[in-house]
């Protein structure tokens, strides 16, 4: 009930401006009652002049209990913005950090990303894209609080200072909470000056997470935890093949199950609605459904892999080209290698779910989503409402990794279809099996690489053909496909500094249409391009009989920032010194999402099993906000990528996904976690992303280390030694 109670009390407060939770909560700059309407419509509040500055009221609330609530336009899915964005606000606001509270914003135009035209979280964009906006929010609010205090005291604002939640002047001091009501009546300034970075006291300081207390006590509310009066739970039987349809259903046994309320067909399958999950699940188990398999019933990943390999032998569409690569390759005996990666479900710990409550002319949705605007529009479309009639609450996400930024809002739509048949609120829950088999995978990909060296061992030609599916084609984001090239497939190869340094080069995309739904998976195209590029560079280095570090350094002469990160990781890992007995090191460096990460993996092979002991990471992410968060994300990215490199693979036979749960879709476990060290390059460069860039280098770093140890080149993910 907690979630409902909080919502109800907030709404009743907004209507009546009475006490909420024992404290008068003052929305900044517009009357509190207008805040919700404003947030919904995203217009400019009448009390604030139009300007490029953010409307502070939408992003910050200060209560007379001295609480300072930062409202997140993005979602917290583990990456730490619950802490980072408040740090940005407080760099300028000077509030008492121990009073900071955080909540997710409702879906509304005012919360659109500054990097994309929608409200969303992804592409490792949150921190850099909010670096200005959330600081401006803090600075604007501080300006208003100071102005209110100065007016009360009859002094000049410029003579006041602020410290830890107080405005100070001589021996006078007033708390932010006591000033909030007066400050809220003042017009929002049309300009604001942000601190010089040299004066920063918050940004750059290691700061522990603000969401820890609720996440170590079980109090944190994930989508799965939403509880409402009269709430029903639904599970849906989805077709076993992609594009399959229900032919007929015998629901008699399911309907007879205790606790089952109803069974009905929806566009995505057959829904069973019950008092609680267990009854719904038992009901689904009892369904007898005859499925029409649809157009993709013969999909087979072994066959796909072979056909991709064949297609890689001819040109596709050029994403990047220079010189005459065909001629340069035919001049000598080129090195040829093929790399492949499988489909991968994201398998976030929290299975997908969504709760929907309909009412006349409106709907309310609770879900852990990365894609608020898209989901809100999809709900509206299904229910015949306008987007602003759909109130979308973002809960904590039990992991996202891209799966909860679904181009067609698949799991949200599933829930809305169910809700459309009911007069009571309903929570749709996907089981782990639904989650693994529900599609939207990192695409299977085959890379064919060909390279040539001159007689001094310098690379002269590089040809790479990437055979895979487009994520964007045919989606609402198809406009991002330029000249037939989906950038999410070739990123990390077409823009590789290695490729650019080789005089004759060509990177091609061979786009396949398969019918298996695909999506961005932590680091997107880089999750496979870095494996192919960094492995093949390593192969060229060995072919040239050069040290892998030296070979790369020479190729990176025109990319000094990348080279410096590689050198830092190598130095910290002790590259060039003998590794402990029975171990070898491999390295990789990759730029993605505006940041560069290099990793040196130290591995052994024990009883036919690859064991990664230590991973030394260096990152240049430009200006960073929370170094503790940067470290955590690199540790996380290594674990995520290493699990995929060692274990994870989704296979399809006769159109049906073979794997179903964590026993056969394996991910990294604690005993396999290497010791991860992180070295952050002090930098004044533009901020880059941190959530994803640590994932791409780990697979090639490990593969290169295994080659150094055993002489065996691992060209397929997941790795198999025999």
């Amino acid at each position: 009930m907690r979630l409902l109670d909080k919502e109800t009390s907030r709404r009743s407060f907004l209507k009546s401006s009475t006490l909420a939770g024992g404290a008068l909560v003052v929305g900044f700059f517009v009357p509190a009652g207008a805040r919700r309407a404003f947030a919904q419509e995203g217009g400019t509040p009448s009390t604030a002049p139009a300007s490029a500055l953010p409307p502070v009221n939408a992003f910050l609330r200060i209560g007379d209990d001295e609480s300072v609530t930062v409202i997140l336009s993005h979602c917290e899915m583990g990456q730490g913005i619950w802490t980072t964005l408040p740090m940005l606000v407080n760099e300028e606001l000077d509030a008492d950090w121990s009073r900071i509270k955080v909540e997710h914003a409702l879906a509304a135009p005012v919360y659109r990303s500054t990097a994309f035209p929608i409200q969303m979280t992804g592409g490792s964009t949150t921190t850099w894209s909010e670096l200005d906006r959330y600081r401006q929010v803090g600075a604007l609010a501080r300006t208003q609080l100071v102005a209110a205090a100065a007016a009360q005291w009859g002094v000049k604002p410029g003579d006041c200072r602020t410290e830890k939640g107080f405005v100070l002047h001589g021996d006078k001091r007033a708390s932010y909470g006591s000033l909030a009501a007066a400050a809220a009546k003042l017009p929002q300034p049309t300009s604001v000056t942000l601190k010089d970075p040299a004066q920063w006291k918050v940004i750059g300081q290691p700061t522990r997470r603000l969401d820890t207390p609720e996440k170590i006590t079980g109090r944190a509310q994930f989508g799965m935890d939403v509880r409402l009066p009269d709430l029903l739970t639904a599970v849906v039987a989805h077709p076993p093949t992609f594009g399959g349809k229900v032919k007929s259903v015998d629901a008699a046994a399911a309907k007879a199950m205790p606790g089952v309320h109803g069974v009905f067909e929806i566009p995505t399958g057959v829904a069973v609605v019950a008092d609680h999950f267990w009854a719904a699940k038992r009901g689904r188990d009892a369904l007898k459904i005859d499925w029409a398999p649809g157009p993709h019933a013969d999909v087979d990943t072994v066959a796909l892999r072979k056909s991709y390999s064949e297609r890689g032998k001819a040109d596709g569409q050029a994403a990047k080209t220079a010189g005459d690569v065909a001629k340069a390759l035919s001049a000598g005996s080129p090195l040829v290698a093929e790399y492949s990666v499988p489909y991968l479900p994201h398998a976030a710990m929290e299975p997908l779910n969504c709760t929907v409550r309909r009412s006349a002319g409106a709907a309310e949705v609770w879900t852990g989503t990365q894609f608020q605007t898209v989901d809100q529009a999809r709900v509206a479309e299904i229910l015949g409402l306008k987007p602003e009639q759909v109130t979308l609450h973002t809960t904590f996400l039990g992991g996202g990794f891209g799966r909860r930024a679904n181009l067609v809002s698949d799991f949200v739509a599933d829930a809305v279809y169910v809700a459309k048949n009911l007069d009571r609120p309903v929570k749709l829950v996907w089981t782990r099996e639904d989650d693994i088999r529900g599609g939207y995978y990192r695409p299977l990909a085959v890379h064919r690489l060909e390279g040539a060296l001159d007689d001094q061992g310098r690379p002269t030609a590089w040809r790479q053909r990437i055979v895979s599916q487009s994520i964007l084609a045919g989606s609402p984001f198809a406009a991002m496909v330029k000249d037939g090239i989906d950038p999410t497939v070739v990123e990390g190869a077409s823009d590789s500094p290695y490729v650019a340094a080789i005089p004759h080069h060509r990177v091609d995309l061979v786009a396949m249409e398969v019918g298996v739904p695909v999506l961005w998976w932590r680091s997107v195209g880089n999750s496979h391009t870095a494996f192919a590029v960094e492995s093949f560079v390593d192969e060229l280095a060995h072919a040239a009989k050069r040290d892998p570090l030296e070979f790369r350094r020479a190729l990176l002469a025109q990319a000094p920032r990348v080279r410096a990160v590689l050198e830092l990781a190598a130095a910290k890992a002790g590259w060039g010194s003998a590794p402990p007995a029975g171990r070898a090191r491999g390295l990789a460096v990759h730029e993605s999402f505006g940041s560069i990460v290099a990793q040196v993996a130290e591995v052994s092979v024990e009883g036919g099993t690859i064991r990664v002991h230590r991973v030394t990471c260096a990152i240049d992410c430009g200006v960073y906000v929370n170094p503790l968060g940067v470290r955590a994300q690199l540790e996380s990215a290594v674990a995520f990528g290493l699990g995929a490199a060692l274990h994870s693979e989704l296979t399809i036979k006769q159109g049906q996904v073979v794997e179903s749960n964590f026993h056969d879709y394996r991910v990294l476990r604690l005993h396999e976690m290497p010791q991860v060290e992180v070295h952050i390059v002090p930098s004044k460069e533009k901020s880059g992303g941190v959530g994803e860039p640590g994932t791409p280098p780990i697979a090639p770093a490990v593969a290169n280390a295994v080659f150094a140890l055993t002489g065996k080149r691992l060209r397929e993910l997941p790795f198999r030694l025999s």
């Binding site: 009930m1 917290e76 583990g78 990456q79 522990r208 997470r209 969401d211 820890t212 207390p213 609720e214 996440k215 170590i216 006590t217 079980g218 944190a220 994930f222 799965m224 935890d225 509880r227 739970t233 205790p258 606790g259 008092d275 609680h276 999950f277 267990w278 038992r282 398998a347 976030a348 710990m349 929290e350 299975p351 904590f396 996400l397 039990g398 992991g399 996202g400 990794f401 782990r432 099996e433 503790l628 955590a632 540790e635 996380s636 990215a637 290594v638 674990a639 995520f640 699990g643 749960n661 964590f662 026993h663 991910v667 990294l668 476990r669 604690l670 396999e672 976690m673 010791q675 991860v676």
Partner: protein, 151 residues
């Protein structure tokens, strides 16, 4: 049946096959214990029964009726069990979804082995998956919790 959860007795009427996890979450409204896999593969649903960690997603509630069940909500009154304090100090959590299970498993380990080695931690916690990969910090927080319990 009567369930004794965190020292409080609850009378519930559910089918004999209903796992403890869903009784806790959907009947008693205690959502701190998480659903991750439904087949004892991920550990997100870990609770203690008479001090021993069990996977509540596969254990029928009927099988533990009358026994002392401890969930994350009951590990400590103020969220300050040494394991929780260590978790906060080491800044372990990310998305947080698996952490109830991790913490319960760690608390059980420390009760059985107040000074666990890395191998003990591997054995006790490799059944608890964390997709955010907080494993390195979990390991370090378990060692820290052992210190806190001793001190």
């Amino acid at each position: 049946m009567k369930l004794l959860v965190n020292g409080r007795e609850h009378e519930v009427s559910v089918t004999d096959d209903m796992p403890l996890l869903w009784v806790l979450r959907d009947v008693l409204g205690m959502t701190g214990t998480k659903f991750g896999c439904g087949m004892a593969q991920c550990g997100a649903c870990t609770v203690l029964v008479d001090g021993q960690p069990i996977r509540s997603c596969v254990r029928p509630a009927a099988a533990v009726a009358g026994r002392a069940i401890t969930t994350i909500e009951g590990l400590s009154a103020a969220g300050d069990h040494p394991v929780q304090r260590a978790w906060a100090e080491v800044d372990v959590v990310q998305c947080g979804y698996c952490q109830s299970g991790q913490i319960m498993a760690a608390a059980a380990l420390l009760k059985a082995k107040p000074k666990p080695t890395d191998a003990d931690i591997d054995a006790a916690l490799s059944g608890n998956i964390c997709r955010c990969g907080t494993y390195q910090r979990i390991r370090s927080a378990v060692h820290r919790a052992a210190e806190l319990m001793e001190g």
